[in-house]
């Protein structure tokens, strides 16, 4: 069984938002909503500063609180790659998952269901990369099978210093950031 994840090289990322825009056109995300976004972490005082830029989205956690708390069975772990998805037709829009997600990755779509990143599973099932990964002009984003030691994502994780977001939340996020 594959276990899908992303590895994002923050040294290459320039925060241009191409990932955000590509997600928007690929998935028809309504104006005013985003499934992914750019975060800046700036520390220090001018001019001795450090800045990390990250493309962020649903972490497709291995222990997803959004799935555990869903009263409708809408939020679920997909059989392929452990991707966390939402059955739009089952979702009541109760927002329990939004409250449970430590990453603020979800929103209520104007059509009434909880929405978020799908890792572009419709593309992945066709052998394509997620739209955000495929578009990135800096090649800072990588998608693949974390269970395959020869995948690019596994090899990058083995070779570079890295971190996940909010590991203390205990959700086992599947997106890693290379320093």
């Amino acid at each position: 069984m594959a276990r899908y994840g992303m590895v994002i090289d923050t040294a290459r990322c320039v925060g241009c938002m191409d990932c955000v825009v590509a997600c928007k056109t690929e998935n028809g995300i309504p104006e005013g909503y985003d499934r992914d976004w750019i975060a800046y972490d700036t520390t220090g005082a001018f001019p001795t500063l450090h800045m990390e830029i990250r493309s962020e989205r649903c972490n497709h956690c291995e222990d997803p609180p959004c799935v555990y708390c869903c009263p409708c069975g809408a939020s679920h772990i997909h059989e392929r790659g452990g991707v966390v998805l939402v059955h739009h037709d089952k979702c009541s829009g109760c927002k329990a998952c939004i409250a449970a997600c430590p990453y603020d990755a979800r929103f209520i779509h104007p059509e009434g269901y909880a929405d978020k990143c799908t890792f572009c599973i419709h593309r992945v099932e066709q052998g394509l990369e997620p739209a955000c990964v495929a578009v990135c002009p800096t090649h800072c984003m990588h998608f693949g099978d974390l269970d395959d030691p020869n995948s690019t994502v596994s090899r990058l994780l083995a070779s570079r210093e890295q971190h996940t977001l909010l590991p203390e939340a205990g959700t086992k996020p599947q997106i890693w950031y290379l320093k």
């Binding site: 090289d9 040294a11 290459r12 320039v14 925060g15 241009c16 938002m17 191409d18 955000v20 825009v21 590509a22 928007k24 056109t25 690929e26 028809g28 995300i29 309504p30 104006e31 005013g32 909503y33 985003d34 976004w37 750019i38 975060a39 800046y40 972490d41 700036t42 220090g44 005082a45 001018f46 001019p47 500063l49 450090h50 800045m51 990390e52 830029i53 990250r54 962020e56 430590p102 990453y103 603020d104 104007p110 495929a134 578009v135 990135c136 002009p137 800096t138 090649h139 800072c140 977001l165 909010l166």
Partner: protein, 733 residues
């Protein structure tokens, strides 16, 4: 990182998002978007073309689903995009669906700038323009009509104006942007940096950026190669008063005082020359006047430069040695928008000279020599000769202006000297945001008998027009072939993906029809543009059908570095790299660059700097719903200490007031450590005042409005704009 940061981010950008309309799919469903005219079409099809959201011209593949434009991706065959567009190109979908775009030809109803119009047919518009142009030609001569044009889309209008008899064709990309750079490099190496820049960033071992904010300035190939250089472990030296995105990746960040770059460059060259770290063979073989140049550097020690620049002497020494250690694969990037302080051509020359010392011009990891495909031009009749010549630079006042100066045409329009300018055509450039001092532009417009604006959106300059002609967006039209000068030779085709939703027309059609109304049909002997393409490609021995299918025709690799056997040539008067410039000396200028301390602003005022955001092009993309959703207004960056002194808090609105008392639209404050306390920064192009740009109207502030002053470069007539100072005024004023 914590969830709090994410919420903070949302709070900042969330307000900018505003009350949401729906996405393109929902807008189409709600019927607020025009039908594409192909609604009977089912299934998926793709069309290769090239982008026009900026002028870089990246190869793209657009996908149409059930007759409606769905998405645009990079064309993998294209060496500019390498299969990946920038965010603006990806968001180009929004240009087609923009509800604010121009729909039909418009004729002014009341006085200029009132934005009150009568919708007219194309023939009525052409007839109106033709009458005015014939009358101007009779009374003032054909040179009295000028064209301001930006991008490849304007090629056929340029052809029309030349056929009419005017040599006065200019783009703000020279005197308001890259002109000083190209003048400085020409004076030194005999050649321009050109566009796309001939910078071999991907092979650089040391990259030096001086005020160049790659990553925010999203010229696709440059940014791709910048990421590659970082990935390859290249040393990165960033010089900027603002901690830019690039600064965040630098091995050495030099937080320079604004306007003192020449002092730093002289000190760097002082170290490299006195420590004999330069490429001695290269300089001996190709240099002219090196001894005089080297002697002139003696006083400019790092200790001398320290109080000017604020950069510690040991940092200047260390970075100079770092550059020398990687030569010739050290690229001191010449930048692009370099009209800053009025001595910009001399600063660019200093950058050229530093590159010359490092031996990077012509070398791998420095500057390659661009190549092109051989494609003969279309055999048009000869243009009528101009008796009076160009109007923009009388008496060669700016002796090293090698392109037409927009602001020189504006000056002639204001003064009638050396001869009157009575008509302006403006193609795809928003002069009110591009030229400094908009009051001068508006005053010049009052002297015109005719102002025609051709554009896809109702820009501010369109609001002042007599006639507005709505152009099809690039996804709906053919344009001229892109026979690019680049690292790899290629020809690219722009072709329609979907139909125009209203009465918009492509520029080639507009120019050709206009020619008919002016009796100039002989200059447009082809019936449609594909006939023109076929003729040229056949003449060059290429297959048009293959170009249509792939969007790109690539030629074989040619040598682009001296290392590949390319013979060094320097088309300067001496035939060598001119370290000491007899040309400049003869014209009465400093033959080697000299530093002048920039004048300070009034007390309590902060120097206004401006730049780019990766999701917008100029002032052209703010009504594109996809791109405005990524960034819908700009912010004024204020250092923490400056914010405290002025009682400003993060996220509040203020107005800016410049040294001449001009007050801006309201703009949000961004309190940050990422800028020197004596300057403030904003992204260019926001603060729209055109009422027809409904979505973008009143969002953010316009830097152009604050640029009431400018310093003119004495070498080439560039208008430097970083010479304005602002203070803060309450938002509710």
């Amino acid at each position: 990182m914590s969830a709090l940061s994410r919420r903070r981010f949302l709070k900042i950008s969330g307000a900018a998002v505003g009350a949401a309309a729906a996405g393109t799919a929902a807008l189409r469903a709600a019927g607020t978007l025009p039908s594409t005219g192909l609604s009977a079409e089912k299934g998926i099809r793709t069309v290769p073309t090239f982008c026009d959201i900026c002028f870089w011209k990246c190869g793209a593949i657009a996908t149409v689903r059930d007759g409606a434009l769905w998405k645009i991706e990079g064309n993998p065959l294209d060496p500019l995009s390498n299969g990946r567009l920038c965010p603006r190109g990806t968001g180009g979908v929004g240009a087609h669906y923009d509800p604010d775009r121009l729909r039909t030809p418009l004729l002014r109803k009341r006085s200029r700038g009132q934005e009150e119009w009568v919708e007219v047919t194309w023939d009525e518009a052409f007839e109106y323009i033709a009458q005015k142009m014939q009358s101007i030609k009779q009374r003032y001569g054909p040179e009295a009509v000028a064209l301001f044009s930006h991008g490849i889309g304007g090629n056929f209008l340029k052809h029309l104006l030349k056929a009419y008899g005017s040599p006065n064709i200019a783009a703000p990309s020279f005197a308001q942007c890259r002109g000083p750079r190209d003048a400085g490099f020409r004076l030194t190496f005999g050649e321009d940096v050109s566009s796309p820049e001939r910078t071999d960033i991907r092979n650089a071992r040391c990259l030096v950026l001086i005020g160049n904010h790659l990553g925010e300035n999203m010229h696709n190939t440059q940014v791709q190669e910048f990421a590659d250089a970082i990935g390859n472990g290249a040393s990165l030296i960033v010089v900027d008063p603002r901690y830019s995105i690039a600064a965040g990746k630098a091995s050495h960040y030099l937080p320079i005082k604004p306007g003192t770059d020449i002092a730093l460059l002289l000190a760097w060259m002082h170290v490299i020359v006195t420590e004999r770290l330069y490429d001695r063979d290269y300089v001996a073989q190709h240099g002219f006047g090196f001894e005089q140049f080297a002697a002139s550097l003696a006083p400019f020690t790092p200790a001398w430069a320290y109080p000017e620049t604020g950069i510690e002497p040991e940092v200047i020494e260390r970075t100079a040695r770092e550059m020398a250690a990687h030569k010739p694969a050290t690229l001191v990037h010449p930048g692009r928008h370099v009209t800053w302080y009025g001595d910009d051509a001399q600063r660019s020359r200093a950058i050229a000279l530093l590159n010359a010392l490092l031996g990077s011009w012509g070398r791998k990891g420095g500057f390659y020599t661009p190549v092109s495909m051989d494609l003969p031009p279309y055999p048009y009749p000869e243009y009528p000769p101009s008796v009076r010549g160009k109007v923009d630079n009388p008496g060669q006042k700016y002796p090293f202006a090698h392109e037409t100066i927009t602001t020189g045409i504006r000056e002639a329009t204001l003064t009638g000297q050396p001869y009157p300018i009575m008509g302006w055509w403006v193609y795809a450039t928003n002069l009110l945001h591009a030229l400094p001092n908009e009051a001068e532009t508006i005053k010049a417009i009052q002297n015109l008998d005719l102002l025609v604006v051709v554009d896809v959106i109702p820009s501010e300059i369109a609001g002042w027009a007599d006639v507005v002609l709505p152009e099809s967006v690039y996804l709906e039209r053919h344009d001229d072939l892109n026979v690019e000068w680049f690292r790899e030779p290629f020809i690219a085709l722009r072709q329609p993906v979907v139909a125009s939703p209203h009465d918009q027309k492509p520029n080639w059609w507009i120019a050709r029809k206009m020619a008919g109304h002016l009796g100039l049909s002989a200059y447009f002997p082809w019936n449609d543009i594909e006939e023109y393409f076929r003729y040229r490609l056949k003449a060059g021995g290429y297959d048009y059908e293959a170009l249509k299918k792939n969007g790109i025709l690539r030629g074989p690799h040619q040598p682009v570095y001296y290392e590949e056997g390319l013979a060094p040539t320097f088309p300067t008067p001496s035939g060598k790299i001119e370290f000491f410039s007899p040309q400049l000396q003869k014209a009465g200028f400093d033959p080697v660059p000299v530093y002048h301390r920039p004048p300070a602003g009034p007390p309590g005022y902060y120097r206004l700097l401006f730049g780019r955001a990766p999701v917008h092009s100029f002032s052209r993309t703010h009504s594109n719903r996809i791109l405005s959703d990524a960034m819908s207004e700009n912010e004024i960056w204020v250092h923490t200490q400056t914010a405290q002194q002025n009682g400003l808090t993060n996220g509040q609105y203020v107005r800016l007031k410049n040294q001449d008392g001009v007050v801006s639209n309201r703009i949000r404050v961004r309190v940050t450590e990422r800028i020197r306390p004596e300057c403030v920064y904003m992204v260019h192009g926001f603060g729209h005042t055109s009422r027809m740009l409904k979505h973008a109207f009143g969002k953010g502030a316009s830097d152009a409005q604050m640029v009431t002053r400018y310093a003119t470069d004495p070498l080439m007539g560039g208008t430097a704009m970083n010479v304005n100072f602002v203070t803060f005024a309450p938002a509710e004023a």
